[in-house]
Structures are given as structure tokens and as C-alpha cells.
């Protein structure tokens, strides 16, 4: 009986998240279009509202091309790894009070593990395509993920110390004692580090070097087409939703808001996640891509020391308060 209940929960969460992924692409194209004083998609349906459906149908019926020299089993499995790794992070995110598919005590650690695993999808795709562009994309991605994973992990250590737990629901509950019901003010340094490294972790502009289209065409997924390409695309957007959700849960107080919204328990969560996703788009429309050495310098020389400083300050305050 319990298993049936969990399967239903999984179906609901996956369905809702996939719909959000589809419309996140539309939202991105519209937002960036208007930021560049264009209109964005306008043709499919009123104001292009059916564009994601048209895109999906197109990608679904496209030919699936596999390069002759590719390492076929790995080539097949790489996009699945990417999607699987990002999707499984959804299991531990508490969307509202008492709702998480798996309310496990090491939630945060699980998400770290899965987001590191997601990099395997990218690296393997880059390797197995047997193309120089994919290979460079894969290499860049592995280097980038290794550098930024550390900063991201360290930035959340402050939150763990304050909440005294790795369970995401407990972290949200612990925040209600703080101003705005958020860790944003005491953990502003951690939040900043997390935000920057989350952008790098999801391979978004200005840290989109693994898929820098002006240098290496499309990076690790140059050789992919049709549905496999769509899987990578979906993985990137799910990754964005996951990162925004973690930021919401750990720094912005999860489902808690300044006032209660009746009947819609996930309203505040959705609002915060969408603000953060909009922030991703906003950065993409504004900031040009970093050079590779700059990217590494920011990761190792700025973000990691800042995250360590944040841990020291948090620990110091915690000791002082007793």
C-alpha cells in the first residue's frame, strides 16, 4: 500500500516537473527576448504559448543520428545518466510541509551525490561521441564541476551548522526562528557562493564553457540529435529547477512565507523557485561568458575561500552564542 502511494507521488512530481521544464524553456525564450527588445516565440498559439509542445513533437520525430565512430553503448546511456541523476534529486526535495517523496536524513548529501553523478552523463557523452568538440566540452565540464562542487558543498556547510541537520525538511523548519523565516541574512555569504556555483554546476551562462557555442559548437552534445538531445536539454532545465529548489530550501525558507496562502501549500516555494529561475535567465541575458582561466580563478581563489570564511564565521557565532 505504501509503495503504491509513493509511486503516485513520484508520478505527480515527475509530471509537474516535466511540465515546468517545458514551460521553463518558453519562459526563458520570452524573458531573454524581451530583455533584448525582441518578442520571443509568437507563432505557435497566442503569444507562442504552445511552442514547447511544438518543440517536443519536433524533437520526438527527428532522426536519431549516431556517429559511426562513436562508442555506442556509452553514447546510448550518457543522456539517460544525465536525466536520471538530476531527476533522482527531486525525490528528497520538500515541496511543502510533509511532502517529500523520500524524507531521508541525508537529503542534502544525496543531492550533492546526484549532482556529481550528473557530470558523468556529460563527461561520458563528450568522450563517447568521438568528436573533438564533444571531447573538449566533456573535459571542460569535468574540470568545472570538480572545482565548483567544492565551493557549493562548502557554502551549504554553514546552513548545516545552523540547522544542525542534513534533512531538508528540518532545515526549513529550523529557519522559521530567523528574520523573514530565512537563512538569507545570517548566511548571505553562503548564499552568494551557492548562487554562483549553482550557475556553474548547471553549465549556464556565464559559466557555460562545456557548451560554449561560439568555440566548440555545442560542446558535449554536438553529436546528439532528436530525443537524446532533448534528454540533455531536459537534464539542464531540471538541474536548474533542482538548484533553485535547494537555494529555496536552504537559504530562502522553503515553503514558509511572510503570510499563509490558504489551500496552496507550495505557493511560496513555487514563487521563490521561479524568482531564482528568472535570475538565471536574467544573468544569461546580461553577462558574457567567462574565459576558462577566469572561471578556474573564480572557483578556487574567490568562492572556496569565501565559503571557508563563511564556515569560520558561522562556527564562531555559534560558539559565542553557546
Amino acid at each position: 500500500m505504501n509503495i503504491v502511494f509513493i509511486v503516485i507521488k513520484i508520478a505527480i512530481v515527475v509530471g509537474i516537473v516535466m511540465a515546468h521544464v517545458a514551460y521553463a524553456t518558453y519562459f526563458e525564450r520570452k524573458a531573454i527576448g524581451h530583455m533584448q527588445v525582441r518578442l520571443g516565440p509568437m507563432r505557435v498559439g497566442p503569444h507562442g504559448i504552445l511552442q514547447p509542445i511544438a518543440d517536443f513533437v519536433k524533437l520526438f520525430f527527428k532522426e536519431d543520428i549516431i556517429p559511426a565512430q562513436a562508442d555506442k553503448p556509452i553514447f546510448y546511456i550518457a543522456p539517460v545518466i544525465a536525466v536520471f541523476a538530476t531527476m533522482s534529486s527531486l525525490a528528497v526535495i520538500p515541496f511543502f510541509e510533509g511532502f517529500a517523496i523520500a524524507n531521508i536524513n541525508i537529503g542534502l548529501l544525496f543531492i550533492f551525490a546526484m549532482s556529481s553523478l550528473g557530470a558523468y552523463g556529460i563527461v561520458l557523452a563528450g568522450w563517447s561521441s568521438n568528436s573533438k568538440y564533444s571531447f573538449l566540452g566533456g573535459l571542460r565540464s569535468s574540470a568545472q564541476v570538480i572545482s565548483y562542487e567544492i565551493a557549493m558543498g562548502l557554502s551549504l556547510v554553514g546552513v548545516m551548522m545552523m540547522a544542525g541537520s542534513l534533512n531538508l525538511s528540518d532545515i526549513v523548519k529550523a529557519q522559521s526562528a530567523y528574520p523573514l523565516k530565512m537563512y538569507l541574512i545570517p548566511q548571505f555569504l553562503g548564499f552568494f557562493v551557492f548562487l554562483v556555483s549553482a550557475v556553474a554546476e548547471t553549465n549556464r551562462t556565464p559559466f557555460d564553457l562545456p557548451e560554449a557555442e561560439s568555440e566548440i559548437v555545442a560542446g558535449y552534445f554536438v553529436e546528439y540529435s532528436g530525443m537524446r538531445f532533448a534528454l540533455f536539454y531536459a537534464a539542464e532545465y531540471i538541474g536548474m529547477i533542482i538548484m533553485s529548489s535547494i537555494a529555496t530550501v536552504c537559504f530562502l525558507g522553503g515553503w514558509n512565507g511572510p503570510f499563509e496562502i490558504p489551500y496552496i501549500p507550495f505557493a511560496w516555494f513555487a514563487v521563490k523557485v521561479y524568482v531564482l529561475i528568472f535570475f538565471y535567465y536574467w544573468i544569461r541575458a546580461t553577462v558574457p561568458r567567462y574565459r576558462y582561466d577566469q572561471l578556474m580563478a573564480i572557483g578556487w581563489k574567490v568562492l572556496i575561500p569565501l565559503a571557508l570564511l563563511n564556515i569560520v564565521i558561522t562556527g564562531f557565532i555559534k560558539v559565542m552564542r553557546g
Binding site: G33, M35, Q36, V37, M42, W282, A285, T286, V287
Partner: protein, 182 residues
Amino acid sequence: MKFKEIVKTVFFTEILKGMALTFKSMLTHAVTRQYPEEKRPAFPGFRGLHAFAIEPSTGKEKCIACGLCAAVCPSKCIYIYTKEGEDGRKVPEKYEIEILRCIYCAFCVEACPVGAIVLTEHFEYSDYSKEALYMTKEKLISNWNKYMAGEKGKQYFEKFWHPTLNDYREYEGQPVFRKKEG
């Protein structure tokens, strides 16, 4: 490093300025024209598809087959074959324009002493065959009836182009392409 520079690096003032700009431009109106639905009105003197002007009193073309247009045409895409008309005057038997070679300089319009050839404001006439873009006299006359009939054809010569034989007066602020003598 000066204090100002330190503040600049720590608070990313430049990136924040850029973000403010993109956010501001998001709230302005898009400049896109949704082309097939939203057409931009042609400016006066727009040089589009060719047409053959008709004299309203007689219902016949104005052309006197002098051949000045063919002579002045830089790409030599106008072909005129003349014959003797009923009253002994020269009239065009055939008047053909190879549109695919035309460069839309409108020298023919400028050269024509009677204002017989015009360039209409119509520009959407791409086609898959070359034949459809080879203009004969009949096609040119039907172009006039389609795009220049009535007041529009009259205004075309009054406002923009000056056939030398007609005595149109200049109006205030008229773009002058050929100064009248005296």
C-alpha cells in the same frame, strides 16, 4: 587599489549596472514587426514593382516609344519594339522588362518625359518561375491598375517624380531630384 575600486570588485557594481539595464529593457516595448501581419507603410518614392501608366482620358498607355528609358537603363533590361500608330505617331508594339536584372535605380522613371513608366510600392512578388517575372506590356498595365489606379497614380507624379512635359508645380518641402529651369 583605491577604495573605490575595492568597492567595485566586491559588490560587482558593473554587473549590477548591466543587470539593471537588461531589466529596464525588458519592460520596454519590443521593436519587432510581425512582418506578414504587420506591414510597414512604404515611404514616398519607394521603388518596387514596375507599372505602365495609363492616360485616364484615352485609357491607353502614355508611352511615346522614345526609347530614353531603355537607353538610360544601367542594366539594359528594358526592350522596346516600336511600330507606327493609327495617327502616324510612334507607339510601342512590345515593351518588356526583365525584372530579374533590374536594379531598381528608377533612372527610367526619371528619364521618361511623359511619366509613362513608374515604380509602384508593391514589393512582394517573388516567384518560382522566371516567366512570371518577365514583364510584358499587358502585365505592366495590369500592375498599374492593381497598385496605382486612381488618386495614387496621380499623386505619384505630383509629389515625387517630375515628368518634364507636364507642368506640375513644386510644393513646399518637396524632395528635388531634378531642378526645373527658370
